[in-house]
């Protein structure tokens, strides 16, 4: 069991680091997908298969596609995806994230955490059942939020007559 | 309500073809080439051949060079035969056709005034090297008139009749003028 954990941990950390540090945008996106797969592996380790499958379906299936589409749409030339790399304030960023890590890890060490494993598994129909009985309000609110977000995203990103000319216009001027 | 029926109709056609290919006899058209062969079609044309009547030394061709001029890819080369004094003879000394260039269009057969060149039915002529072995010389091109009768009976008989008629006409005028 521990072997899987360490394997998955390295895989996920590599994916996350790659997503953040790589120069080529599409390589970042692909390592992000590796990261999502690693997280799904963790969920399976924690015996949450349903959430792992949902994670793969939503993140690897849809969010990564969305990110790749965005990269494709915002790159003027395919392949020219090397960018000026990191911003000049990256040392500050490194400092802040190191501080965050030390604070969190210190907090984890001092905390007395339950170490024994309760038996019994959470089955999918249990999740489904509680989702529609005790948690029905957040369930409905989420569905409204999703439709709102979807319509909003489409309206924002849509090419109307007005900004279509703007898009082509700009390019001709520069 | 007929949305989608077009799809079913299309699919039924292909299914019918599929089923018929097993049941109906003639529905599969492919000829399994090396084993089965398609029967010979008279006007089939492949590479040109020269025709001689009796002796291979006297082909019908009089080396008039019309076919060489007319040949689109220019793959015919003719050199007229010369006797000792250097006067041209009505016979080609060298008659080469480069089969790797020839596109078997049949123009040489059409323009030839002396019906000397015809398109052959023989197409299995593969060779190992492109240059020399596909450049057919006169000996390889010459074929007897009987072979022509064998592969293109109707055309051959018409041409023989025409030649014979020309022969008599010449004989008839010939004695007239000498007298």
């Amino acid at each position: 069991m521990e072997l899987f954990f360490y394997l998955l941990a390295t895989l996920t950390l590599l994916g996350a680091l790659g997503a953040v540090l790589l120069k080529n945008l599409v390589h970042c996106a692909l390592s992000l997908i590796l990261f999502f797969a690693g997280i799904a592996g963790f969920y399976i380790l924690l015996q949450a298969e349903f959430i792992a499958a949902v994670q793969i379906l939503i993140y690897v299936g849809a969010v990564a596609t969305l990110v790749l589409f965005a990269i494709m749409l915002t790159q003027n030339v395919i392949g020219e995806t090397t960018l000026k790399g990191l911003g000049q304030n990256r040392w500050w960023a490194l400092g802040i994230s190191l501080v965050v890590i030390t604070v969190l890890v210190r907090a984890i060490q001092h905390q007395t955490l339950p170490s024994f494993l309760p038996e019994g598994r959470v089955t999918t129909n249990e999740i489904g059942h509680t989702l529609v009985t005790t948690y029905v309000l957040p369930f409905e609110v989420i569905s409204i939020l999703l439709t709102g977000a979807m319509i909003g995203a489409i309206v924002v990103a849509m090419e109307t007559k007005k900004n279509k000319q703007q898009a082509t216009g700009d390019r001709r001027r520069t | 309500m007929s949305y989608g029926l077009g799809i079913l109709k299309g699919m039924s056609v292909t299914l019918k073809q599929f089923v018929e290919s097993y049941t109906k006899k003639g529905s599969i058209v492919t000829v399994q080439y090396p084993e089965e062969r398609r029967e010979d079609v008279e006007r089939f044309r492949n590479f040109p051949i020269l025709v001689y009547d009796e002796k291979p030394e006297a082909p019908r061709c009089v080396a008039c060079d019309i076919c060489a001029k007319e040949c689109p890819p220019k793959c015919i080369t003719i050199v007229r035969d010369r006797d000792e004094q250097g006067r041209g003879l009505q016979k080609p000394k060298v008659f080469d056709i480069d089969l790797s260039v020839c596109m078997s269009c049949g123009i040489c057969e059409e323009v030839c005034p002396f019906d000397a060149i015809f398109m052959d039915h023989q197409f299995e002529l593969s060779a190992y090297d492109r240059m020399e072995s596909l450049n057919y010389h006169q000996e390889k091109l010459l074929k007897p008139n009987s072979y022509l009768h064998q592969i293109r009976p109707t055309d051959a008989t018409q041409i023989d009749a025409k030649l014979k008629a020309k022969e008599e006409a010449k004989k008839k005028t010939q004695p007239g003028t000498t007298a």
Partner: protein, 386 residues
């Protein structure tokens, strides 16, 4: 009969007993998983090879010609000849391509389509991995394939393959939605995501309890089958590798073994999707007389044959027709199918069929009337290269 039905299960038991003698005890569960994995690993490529043979024979026969019949009797060794040809072909990596993604793409395409096999119920208690979220796993893994195709298209760094990859992306996403909607109806009625329970729910009455005989089941089956044909990029939805327009789409720059992997993924996907369609709507391995795995094979074979039959009949969709067909026809049909299934579930027997068919017919006619067929592309406006 029982022994024949459980043939493969008994085979596995014999192997395990034989291995028990010399293997230490804790290794046994791994061994049983290993045995089913090797079974799939042998079964999948074999089916793929002989699906290619079947496809060439059937399409040949549909076009009044023999299929391959030179290599071996009836061309049975043709797939092996193709395999050798694929292996010996030189593996060209284009200069501009970035090696890592170019190399990873075929692997990332084949792995999901092999994973799909782990969840399929090949026969009575013959599912390789009996997940209780089997169906969700199937859909999640099939969405990974889309990404791998993009990787392949983008990595080979040429205009055609990128165009093909973007087309594949758009097509597979917009056809995944109706696919999931048609699966939702089955899950709603059966109440569980595991493929075993879905098949059990369709037993009884000698096959009349199959979902395909219910109104919503028939429409769901049509939706699922159409969407699976397009998920697998087969005609008439094979725009990503539309030979006529964009050379070979996303696998233009692949040759040799890598191209074989793309090809293999397509056929494994076709087989897995038809098997899932059979499980969901045609009662998996339910069947009166024959052993269960034979019934499963027969149904999947019929569905794969229809996929090939479609390929022999239809021309390719235009991209905008493809998109509008998915969003303007299949998606609303999926929604109305769920409504019909809900009503079917809660009304008593004679009424339920009438209501469900009435709703579905209404939505079918309405949608077909709403979607104007034969719309022309609007006049192309040309922008000169800046």
């Amino acid at each position: 009969m029982e022994r024949l039905d459980q043939l493969f299960v008994l085979l596995k038991k014999i192997i395990l007993q034989f291995a028990e003698s010399f293997l230490p005890a804790p290794l046994l569960p791994f061994l049983s998983i290993l045995v089913s994995i090797t079974a799939i690993a042998i079964f999948a490529p074999l089916t793929m090879m002989y699906l290619t043979w079947l496809e060439r024979k059937v399409i040949g026969r549909m076009q009044n010609r023999f299929g391959p019949n030179r290599v071996g009797i009836y061309g049975l060794l043709q797939p092996i000849a193709d395999g050798i040809k694929m292996l010996t072909k030189e593996d060209v990596i284009p200069l501009g391509a970035d090696r890592v993604t170019h190399f990873l793409a075929p692997v990332a395409v084949v792995v999901p389509s092999l994973l799909l096999f782990s969840v399929l119920p090949f026969g009575r208690n013959m599912t390789a991995v009996n997940l209780d979220i089997g169906l969700l796993f199937f859909i999640a893994v099939s969405s990974i394939g889309t990404l791998a195709i993009f990787m392949g298209g983008w990595a080979s760094r040429n205009k055609f393959s990128l165009l093909g990859a973007m087309r594949a992306f758009a097509q597979m996403i917009s056809y995944e939605v109706p696919l999931v909607l048609s699966v939702v109806t089955v899950v709603m009625i059966v109440g569980s995501l595991s493929t075993e329970k879905i098949v059990e729910a369709q037993s009884g009455w000698g096959g009349l309890r199959w979902f395909v005989f219910t109104p919503w089941g028939f429409v769901g089956f049509m939706l699922f089958f159409i969407c699976s044909v397009s998920e697998v990029n087969r005609t008439p939805f094979d725009i990503p590798e539309g030979e006529s327009e964009i050379v070979a789409g996303f696998h233009t720059e692949y040759s040799g073994m890598k191209f074989a992997l793309f090809y293999m993924a397509e056929f494994l996907g076709a087989f897995a999707y038809s098997a899932m369609a059979a499980t969901l709507f045609l009662g998996g391995w339910q069947g009166p007389l024959l052993p269960s795995w034979l019934w499963f094979g027969l149904k999947t074979f019929c569905l794969v044959f229809t996929m090939i039959w479609l390929r022999g009949t239809f021309p390719r969709f235009r991209v905008d027709q493809l998109m509008s067909y998915a969003w303007k026809f299949l998606f609303p049909m999926g929604l109305s199918n769920i409504l019909a299934a809900g009503i079917w579930y809660h009304t008593p027997f004679p009424l339920s069929f009438i209501f469900a068919t009435w709703i579905l017919l209404l939505s079918f006619i309405g949608l077909s009337r709403l979607n104007p067929t034969g719309t022309r592309l609007e006049r192309r406006t040309y922008r000169f290269a800046e």
